[in-house]
């Protein structure tokens, strides 16, 4: 029986823009993650998925304003701002950043860079830390002797594994990964996905995988949330999202992906996402939606529960109001 390890309630993030305006990057996101779960956060550029996970780590700059709750093991770690987030950062929640494989310090050995977070967070020091670093490397599929090598001696895939090892240095409960396989070849990507699956199964690690690549999420994750214009428009089990999507964006997104066996037509979604520096009235997807009706540009749809842990924000799911024309 897996318990809830992380829950996010009504998360909002605003960024200050020059000339006094604000960008509403994250608009009321709710998440509910269980221990050992592999969860996908999917969306295109600008939808707010990276900002969301950065908010979970408290890694937002002074131009950002955050509200909401981030509940980790029963404690709202966002309530005290940086003060309450810091003790949990890396020790309970860790992150593999976008482009992490290129963010290694070129003049330090990989082993030293693995030891650094351990010593900094007081998890291990000296010889114990060295040993732990070797074990971490082994866990991600790198021979422990390579700890004395420098990043440039590692291939791209190996560096990504090392970045994952670095994130796991303090044995966190939750691992956030931002586009970890986007820059990798498909075979290396498969290796990394395999690794993440193993880690999540063996360590009971909760994984949040952020990407624009839907099929990758389909391979790795059991559940996912689709983000659009700063909010989650649908979330549920992967099979449900694919076979019974209840939000037009989810459906059209799947429809825009070529299938390797190449049977159905591939269709792009016309238009572009709305600007987030202005108030959006009605459903943010309405201008691009192929089934929008009168209610859509007027009233913002609420996230409705359609089944066990299946939510979607679309008026077509609402029995109370007018349904399809």
């Amino acid at each position: 029986m897996s318990e809830q390890v992380l829950s996010v309630e009504d998360l909002h993030v605003w960024f200050d823009l020059p000339k006094g305006e604000r960008l509403h990057a994250v608009q009321g996101v709710n998440l509910d993650l269980q221990s050992g779960e592999r969860f996908g956060l999917v969306g295109e550029s600008g939808c707010g998925k990276t900002t969301t996970i950065l908010a979970l780590m408290g890694l937002l700059p002074s131009s950002a304003a955050v509200s909401g709750s981030i509940i980790l093991d029963g404690e709202d770690i966002l309530a005290g701002g940086e003060r309450s987030m810091r003790p949990h950062r890396w020790k309970d929640i860790a992150m593999v950043f976008q482009g992490a494989m290129n963010a290694f310090n070129p003049v330090q050995t990989v082993g030293a860079q693995l030891i650094e977070p351990m010593e900094f967070h007081g998890v291990a020091t000296g010889d114990a830390a060295k040993k732990a670093a070797g074990q971490l490397l082994e866990m991600v599929g790198i021979a422990p002797e390579r700890a004395d090598r420098y990043p440039h001696e590692f291939s791209g895939g190996m560096r990504q594994r090392a970045a994952i090892a670095m994130a796991l240095a303090c044995s966190p409960k939750v691992l956030l990964a931002d586009e970890p396989t986007t820059a990798l070849d498909v075979m290396v990507q498969a290796q990394i996905l395999d690794l993440l699956t193993r880690l999540s199964d063996d360590l009971g690690l909760t994984l949040v995988f952020v990407t624009h690549d839907l099929p990758v999420i389909a391979e790795l994750c059991s559940r996912a949330a689709v983000m659009y214009a700063g909010e989650i428009v649908e979330s549920g089990a992967m099979e449900t999202l694919y076979h019974d999507p209840r939000h037009p964006y989810t459906r059209m997104l799947f429809g825009a992906i070529p299938d390797p066996e190449g049977e159905k037509d591939v269709v792009s979604i016309p238009g572009a996402p709305p600007r987030l520096d202005r108030e959006i009235t009605g459903c943010p997807f309405a201008p691009r939606c192929d089934v929008s009706f009168e209610r859509c540009p007027v009233e913002r749809p609420a996230l409705l529960e359609l089944g066990p842990r299946h939510y979607a924000a679309c008026h077509h799911n609402d029995p109370a109001g007018e349904a399809a024309p």
Partner: protein, 316 residues
């Protein structure tokens, strides 16, 4: 095969390169220090241009006793020959600024050409031009200027040339670096794939990218050129028939103004030089700042986000 580009139209995700084209002023106006610099420099240029109309007296005109004290009139006192210091400053600005601007134009022209050729063609051309640049860099400025003035006589154009020939090296280096990086940009490769010749690529694709940096560099070069001119004039290597700020300081020290307590003959020209250099520096630095690509991962370094209580959010 890597990142997905952001396509939020309306949010300026690409940096200031596009804004620059709508005018240097567009950048400067966001920075008060640069605006001050620009205004001051502009005012001084106007003073130099309209000197005949503004200066109350001529430079040799004796209107009072030597080292006449400043008072309500004359506002800055008189020099050792009884001439009005304020008028001298105004007339002197012409030479100081002219030499400064002219020398930096020479420097930019040479440096820009060398930089573009070295950066664009690379290989042997690059190596040869950079070695020449190194030799020029190694030459000490002031001794060379002294030698040139001593051999070919002190004249304004000699000064302009000498300063220009010494200042072009830093421009060349900066331009070369920029050209090298622009040459690798995809749109340049694309232009070549379209069949464009070198001349077209350099003038239509490379130079426009280099121009903003060149402007910033020019402004900073002007500051150095004016300083060099002042130094040369002070050393007596400038044209003796012309007055400049450096010359004013030279005259003052030679006529024992300090022991006579006549600070007003030395301080004002020094202050003017300082003001011009400061103004140029402010403008130049503002431009350079605007042109440096800023790392967009600032959000990883800073953790100073503000926390809003949930109630406050509703009032949005």
């Amino acid at each position: 095969m890597s990142r997905i580009i952001e396509h939020e139209p309306g949010i300026e995700s690409r940096g200031s390169a596009q804004r620059l084209w709508s005018g240097v002023w567009g950048i400067l106006k966001d920075r008060p220090s640069a605006v001050v610099g620009a205004v001051v420099l502009g005012a001084l240029v106007l003073v130099a241009i309209f000197a005949p109309a503004i200066a109350p007296y001529g430079i040799h005109q004796r209107i009072g006793p030597p080292f006449g004290t400043p008072g309500p009139y004359p506002p800055l006192g008189l020099d050792d020959g009884g001439a009005d210091v304020l008028s001298l400053l105004i007339w002197g600005s012409r030479i100081s600024l002219t030499v400064g601007f002219a020398a930096s134009i020479v420097a930019i022209f040479i440096g820009g050409t060398v930089g573009v050729l070295a950066g664009y063609f690379g290989g042997a051309t690059d190596t040869a031009l950079m070695r020449i640049t190194d030799y020029f860099l190694a030459i000490p400025d002031v001794p060379l200027m002294i030698v040139v003035a001593a051999i070919w006589g002190p004249s304004l154009w000699h000064i302009v040339l000498v300063i220009g020939l010494l200042l072009w090296t830093s421009t060349a280096r900066i331009v070369r670096a920029q050209v090298k990086s622009v040459r690798e940009r995809v749109y340049v490769k694309r232009a070549r794939a379209l069949g464009a010749g070198n001349a077209r690529i350099i003038f239509r694709h490379v130079l426009p990218q280099v121009a903003p940096l060149l402007v910033a560099n020019t402004v900073l070069t002007i500051a150095v050129a004016i300083f060099d001119e002042t130094a040369l004039a002070f050393l007596g290597l400038s044209d003796p028939s012309k007055i400049s700020w450096g010359k004013m300081i030279k005259n003052a020290t030679e006529s024992s103004a300090i022991s006579a307590g006549a600070w007003w003959t030395i301080v004002p020209p020094g202050v003017c030089v300082a003001i011009v250099i400061l103004s140029c520096t402010l403008i130049g630095q503002a431009l350079e700042d605007a042109l440096n690509p800023r790392l967009r991962v600032a959000h990883l370094a800073a953790r100073g986000f503000r926390l809003l209580p949930r109630m406050l959010r509703d009032e949005k």
